[in-house]
C-alpha cells in the first residue's frame, strides 16, 4: 500500500469508501483525469442470458477463467416454473440454458441448473448459499445485483463485455461513483400492511428514475436496523430503479446471524473472527463525507403502487390516477411521458386507483419472493379466495424458499385460495419463459419494473408489495390492504 493511500485512510470514510479502498488493485496516479481504478472482484455470479457471448469471447481468444472457484452460475431467466420434467417448449431458451451448462462445464464453474435444489433467482440464491458476504465485491451481468448490498457488500450490475473481463481477470475497471446517503427516518408502523417495498417505491417516487445516477446509495437510519435481511434485500434490490450503481446497508447482528451456517459462508471460529472485523470496520465513520444526502420520513407512509410505465410513477393506494400536469410540475418531458404512460396503461386521470380491476397477480421476482414475503402474502390470503376475474400465481425466488414454504404449509394456503404454486425463477418479472401477460392484461406485481411490455407485449404492470398484491388477488381490484388486516 502506498503512503498516499494510508494518509487517505486516516480521513473519515464511508462504508462504500472502505470497501472500495480494500479492493483497489491498481489506481492511476492522475486522478484529475477521472481514470478508472482496477478493482478486485470477490464474487462473480452468472446467469444464462448475459453470459454466452462472454464465454464465446474467451474461447475465441483462447482464454481461461481466472478464478472459477469465485464464480457461481444458475439458470433463472428462461426456466419454466411448472412441469420441469417435460422438454422445454421454447427451443431458443433450451439452447441458451444448454450453452450455460456447456460453458460451466468447459470452464470449471459451479452451476445450479434447473434440476438443482439450490437453483433460483441469482439474487435470491447468493445470500441463501452464503455467497454474499459483508465487505466483499460482487458483480453479475444483471442490473439487480444491487440487491446484495443489503449485506454491506459492494454489488453492482455489469454488461456482457465486463462479464468476460471479470471471467478472464477477476478484476474490473471502474470509475468511482459518488457517495449518496439516504436516511430513512420516522416511526415506521410496520403493521403487516406496510413493507420495505412501500419504502423503496416511495424513495424512487421522490428522487426519480435517475436520482441515483453515478452514485452508490447507503441507506441509513433506525428503521433499517429493525429490518430483517429479506426487507433490506428488497430495499437494495430496487436501488437500480433510481439509477444508482449500488445500494448499501451496513451489516449488523441481523446480518451476521443470517450468514451463520450458510453453505459457502465461513464457519465456527473463522466466522467469529470475521464478524469481529466486520463489526469494527464496516460502517461509515461519523464525519464521513457524502456528496449527496436526503432523508425520507416514513411515519405517515401509505401503501405505494405504480400507475405508469416506470418505477417512479407511484401514488398512494388512497390516491387517484394523476393528471399529467399534476405529475409533471411543469416539466415538458415528464408531461409527455405521463401522457404516453396513461395511454399505454389505459388509465383516466382522476379515477381512484382502487376502482381499477386486475386480471393477473404475480407474487415473485428478486424483489419480493423470499420466505418472509410469501408468509406475509399468505396472511392476507388465508381463508379467502382469489376473485373470479383474476389469475394469480406465486413463484418462490428459489427452490429452497419453495421447500421451506411448503414445510410450513404456505403452498396449501395459496392453492386453497386459488393461486398457482410454481417452481422458482424470474418468471413473469420479465417473461422470458412462458409466464407472460397477454396484450391489454393488467397485473398486480411484486416485481421491480413496470416498463412497457416488460411482462409481455402490451401488458400493463402495477408494482406493489406482496401483501398489496395478495389483496388485489382477493378483491379483483387494487385494494388498500390495511382494510383487510
Amino acid at each position: 500500500m502506498s503512503s498516499t493511500n494510508s494518509i487517505r485512510h486516516n480521513l473519515p470514510r464511508t462504508l462504500f469508501d472502505k470497501i472500495w479502498d480494500d479492493h483497489v488493485v491498481y489506481q492511476q496516479s492522475d486522478r484529475a483525469k477521472k481514470q478508472p481504478t482496477l478493482l478486485y472482484i470477490d464474487r462473480h455470479l452468472v446467469h444464462e442470458v448475459t453470459s454466452p457471448q462472454a464465454f464465446e469471447g474467451l474461447r475465441i481468444k483462447n482464454r481461461s477463467v481466472r478464478r472459477p472457484n469465485l464464480t457461481f452460475a444458475t439458470m433463472d431467466h428462461n426456466v419454466p416454473t411448472s412441469n420441469r420434467s417435460l422438454p422445454l417448449v421454447d427451443n431458443t431458451s433450451a439452447m441458451q440454458m444448454q450453452a450455460l451448462k456447456q460453458n460451466c462445464n468447459d470452464f470449471g464453474i459451479t452451476l445450479y441448473d434447473m434440476d438443482s435444489p439450490n437453483q433460483g433467482i441469482v439474487h435470491v440464491i447468493g445470500p441463501e448459499l452464503g455467497l454474499t458476504l459483508p465487505g466483499s465485491t460482487i458483480v453479475c451481468g444483471d442490473s439487480h445485483t444491487s440487491t446484495h448490498g443489503a449485506f454491506g457488500a459492494l454489488a453492482f450490475g455489469i454488461g456482457t463485455s465486463e462479464v468476460e473481463h471479470v471471467l478472464a481477470t477477476q478484476c474490473l475497471w471502474v470509475n468511482k461513483p459518488e457517495n449518496f446517503e439516504i436516511r430513512i427516518d420516522g416511526i415506521f408502523k410496520n403493521s403487516h400492511s406496510l413493507t420495505a417495498k412501500d419504502i423503496i417505491l416511495y424513495i424512487i417516487r421522490s428522487i426519480g428514475t435517475s436520482g441515483g445516477n453515478g452514485a452508490v446509495i447507503e441507506y441509513r437510519g433506525e428503521v433499517l436496523s429493525r429490518f430483517s435481511m429479506a426487507e433490506r434485500l428488497t430495499i437494495c434490490n430496487m436501488s437500480i430503479e433510481c439509477g444508482a450503481r449500488a445500494g448499501l446497508i451496513a451489516p449488523d447482528s441481523t446480518t451476521f446471524e443470517y450468514i451463520r451456517d450458510r453453505l459457502f459462508a465461513p464457519k465456527g471460529k473463522d466466522l467469529d473472527n470475521l464478524i469481529n472485523i466486520w463489526q469494527d470496520r464496516l460502517r461509515s465513520d461519523n464525519s464521513a463525507k457524502f456528496e449527496r444526502t436526503i432523508s425520507i420520513d416514513v411515519s405517515n407512509l401509505a401503501p405505494q403502487i405504480t400507475w405508469g410505465t416506470n418505477p417512479s410513477m407511484v401514488i398512494d393506494i388512497t390516491d387517484s390516477i394523476p393528471y399529467p400536469d399534476e405529475y409533471s410540475h411543469g416539466n415538458d418531458g415528464l408531461k409527455k411521458a405521463a401522457l404516453r404512460a396513461l395511454n399505454y396503461m389505459d388509465l383516466t386521470p382522476g379515477v381512484p386507483i382502487t376502482n381499477i380491476d386486475v386480471d393477473r397477480v404475480f407474487i415473485g421476482s428478486c424483489t419480493n419472493s423470499r420466505l418472509q414475503d410469501l408468509i406475509e402474502a399468505s396472511n392476507v390470503v388465508k381463508g379467502r379466495t382469489v376473485a373470479p376475474n383474476v389469475r394469480a400465481m406465486v413463484v418462490p425466488g428459489s427452490q429452497l424458499v419453495k421447500t421451506q414454504a411448503e414445510r410450513i404449509g404456505l403452498d396449501e394456503v395459496f392453492k386453497d385460495a386459488g393461486f398457482e404454486w410454481r417452481d422458482s425463477g424470474c418468471s413473469m418479472c420479465l417473461g422470458m419463459n412462458p409466464d407472460i401477460l397477454s396484450s391489454g392484461e393488467r397485473c398486480a406485481s411484486t416485481s421491480n419494473r413496470n416498463f412497457e411490455g416488460r411482462q409481455g407485449t402490451g401488458g400493463r404492470t402495477h408494482l406493489m408489495s406482496p401483501v398489496m398484491a395478495a389483496a388485489a388477488a382477493v378483491k379483483g381490484k387494487f385494494t388498500d390492504v390495511r382494510e383487510m388486516l
Binding site: 448475459t50 421454447d90 411521458a337 412497457e452
Partner: protein, 198 residues
C-alpha cells in the same frame, strides 16, 4: 470493432425521456447466444405492430432517416436492465453515436465496449437539436472531443480510457493482462478479510 475518429450525419430524434433498455430491445430477443445480428430487434415494439409490420410513424421506419448514424434522445437514456444487447442492437442498426443530456450508468459503459460513442451535452443544445432535427447535420470529432452543428462547436467530456478504447478499438482484457503482477500481488497479500474461500 471499427476504430472511431470522426463522423458526420444528420440525426435520428426520439423525443422520449427515460428510455429503458427493455424498449431498446425487448426480452424475447435476449435468448440468442451470438453477439451480432440484433439490428432487426431494435425498438421492436415501437417499430413493429403485433403482426410484425413496420409502424409508419416511428422514426426508424422513415426511409429518409435510414442512412443517419447519430441518435438524439432525452434524459436518462438506457435505464433499467444491464443487457448489452441494447448496444449491440443500436450498433448493428448502424448507430455510431448517441447524443443526450444524460445516460444511465451501465448502458453508458456498455457503449464504449462496442464502438458506440455516447455524448452528453446540455439541455439548451439538446432542445435546439430537437427543434432542428429534420435538417441539422452534426460533425463529431472524437480526437478534439467536439461536436459541431450550424455555427456551434461544443466540447464534450470523455475519460481518457474510454476515448482510447473507441479510437484504437483496443482489447481491454489484453490490456488488463499487463497488470498481472498487481493482480497476483493483490491475491497474495490483500486477499480479503471478507471471504472464507479466497
Amino acid at each position: 470493432m471499427t476504430p472511431f475518429k470522426s463522423i458526420s450525419s444528420k440525426l435520428i430524434p426520439i423525443d422520449v425521456i427515460n428510455i429503458d433498455t427493455d424498449q431498446i430491445i425487448p426480452k424475447q430477443f435476449l435468448k440468442l447466444v451470438q453477439k451480432t445480428g440484433y439490428d432487426k430487434f431494435l425498438f421492436y415494439d415501437w417499430r413493429f405492430d403485433k403482426d410484425g409490420n413496420p409502424k409508419r410513424e416511428f422514426v426508424l421506419n422513415n426511409p429518409s432517416y435510414r442512412d443517419r448514424t447519430i441518435l438524439l434522445v432525452r434524459e436518462n437514456f438506457g435505464s433499467g436492465s444491464s443487457r448489452e444487447h441494447a448496444v449491440w442492437a443500436l450498433r448493428d442498426f448502424g448507430i455510431r453515436a448517441i447524443v443526450a443530456p444524460s445516460f444511465a450508468d451501465i448502458f453508458y459503459n456498455n457503449c464504449f465496449k462496442n464502438g458506440v460513442l455516447p455524448i452528453i451535452i446540455n439541455h439548451d443544445h439538446i432542445e435546439y437539436l430537437f427543434n432542428h432535427a429534420e435538417t441539422v447535420k452534426i460533425n463529431i470529432d472524437l480526437t478534439a472531443q467536439s461536436i459541431e452543428f450550424d455555427s456551434n462547436i461544443i466540447h464534450f467530456e470523455i475519460s481518457e480510457s474510454n476515448k482510447k478504447m473507441l479510437m484504437e478499438g483496443i482489447d481491454e482484457i489484453g490490456m488488463t493482462f499487463n497488470f498481472e503482477s498487481y493482480i497476483s500481488d493483490y491475491e497474495k497479500t490483500k486477499s480479503t478479510y471478507s471471504l472464507g474461500v479466497v
